[in-house]
Subunit: 289 residues, 2 copies
């Protein structure tokens, strides 16, 4: 049987359509403020995509770019944006300068505008199965599962990685009493001994660890489903920079039932999730006016 | 080798001592308000223990007892207690009347006074590894692990149960980068197929599912450590009401390395944890005055 390639584009297109329709039907004027500090090229590229996609979806993306920033100034900016009724969402592009306390800043962003889902209020609601903003990469994983109608109930899902933005939220979402939940979940990470012992048991394997081509075919079960949320820049044989996931795609492809490509999988859904959050926030703000 | 019995009393005594010392040294006047609605005998018994232990620790426990309660009145009471500077902690004894929305009320309690750790802000901080109030039963499990110096790093910990007050917080705590964390964690629950397959792999097994004597010796690994957070009322052979855990204690005892008894294990630590939270809250409130 041929392996199904779980491409992200169709998932993103559908999300964008829903977002666009919501904005038009409800006559919303959503605005996302993106704060970008420094000159990391990967960040600039990612943000430029948000601006472009925002335009298509009818969302104003206001890019606030700074060469440098200290914590008190950033606090002032966040507090101002929290108060500003024209702002539906605030996104703080990472990495932040080293002397800025990331937790402190995340905790300051008003939960209603925290479209990245990094504030503890949103993290807590995710965990307690209440309505909230879910971190975009984690929600992208779930959206792919939903789109391709992958059954999760009673399945053994193994998540590799325990980051606050992918591993932990994904693991918690799979425990929800929902159509993408009710799974038995194992979380592995850098301190896990004999990781193959766990990955070989997975009906669904989710990798979000940031190690290029970590998972080989010997480490997976025949017929499993693989969702690769990793994205790692490496050099190919000719010395060219390329992006690969945490899964050795070519190696695992013949053995699994379905797999997300990298790039073109999870990563191509995240911007659409983010923008859908901005539209939802605008809708809620309008209703509460 | 003889099985170690992980009794709760020594753990509780030590916690009570630390709490008492903190209150005396810092000259605190901690006050816990317990709201008790209806006449559930188990709840009354539990609460009377808190009052008694509070006295010993130097914590005023103000019991507010009501025959009945509707949601708007409860909201008023919570809002008043949130504002009241003499109140360091608010505890809402469960179960609540059926027509009261538990999530809604938990979300109202000021996170700084939410000594039960049920507010999303505390849940989110737990999950993000920030300082917070941890639900008392979950913290009791961790406190036992800490007290008996049980190694968790790189161990496979299987948690049975996905409740917001025990299973999920415990599982997340074991993932922390802490001395009681860094474990590989599997979470099982009612939708798990073939639960033995997982429990037999556990180096440490934590049961918090509320099913009397669910786990038998065939389901555990030789030499594992068992923490039983379940407490179930059943009738013994003579028809007398007794309390047992989720683990069949007598059956599993010879096969495991260490085990918590029920009663006398996890349950006998929770009140001490709760009171330590009240003292911590009083200290913080005094500092912020």
């Amino acid at each position: 049987m041929e392996t199904t390639i779980l491409k992200g584009k169709g998932v993103a297109d559908k999300l964008n359509l829903v977002t666009r329709e919501m904005i038009d039907n409800e006559n919303l004027s959503p605005c996302l403020v993106v704060i970008l500090i420094g000159d990391d090229p990967a960040s600039e590229y990612y943000v430029s995509n948000i601006v472009k996609q925002g335009k298509k979806s009818g969302i104003e993306v206001r890019l606030q770019k700074y060469e440098m920033m200290d914590q008190p100034s950033l606090v002032d900016i966040i507090m101002q944006l929290n108060q500003d009724d024209s702002v539906s969402g605030i996104m703080l592009q990472k990495p932040l300068p080293k002397d800025i306390d990331e937790d402190f800043i995340n905790n300051l962003i008003c939960p209603d505008k925290d479209v990245d889902g990094f504030n503890p209020m949103n993290a807590g609601k995710l965990y307690l199965e209440q309505d909230c903003f879910i971190p975009c990469t984690a929600e992208s994983v779930l959206e792919i599962i939903r789109h391709y109608q992958i059954e999760t109930e009673s399945k053994h899902i193994v998540v590799i990685g325990r980051s606050n933005i992918v591993g932990k939220p994904v693991a918690n979402l799979f425990l929800h009493k929902s159509s993408t939940g009710n799974a038995t979940v194992t979380i592995c990470h850098s301190k896990t001994k004999d990781i193959s012992n766990y990955t070989r048991q997975a009906d669904i394997l989710v990798a979000a660890v940031g190690k290029a081509n970590l998972i080989k075919k010997e480490m997976i079960k025949e017929g499993c489903i693989i969702i690769d949320a990793g994205i790692n820049e490496i050099k190919d044989e000719s010395g060219k920079n390329i992006y690969v996931g945490d899964i050795d795609y070519q190696d695992c492809l013949p053995k699994c039932q379905a797999i997300t490509p990298v790039p073109g999988g999870v990563g191509s859904v995240t911007t659409s999730i983010l923008l859908s959050h901005v539209a939802r926030s605008a809708k809620k703000m309008k209703k509460n006016k």
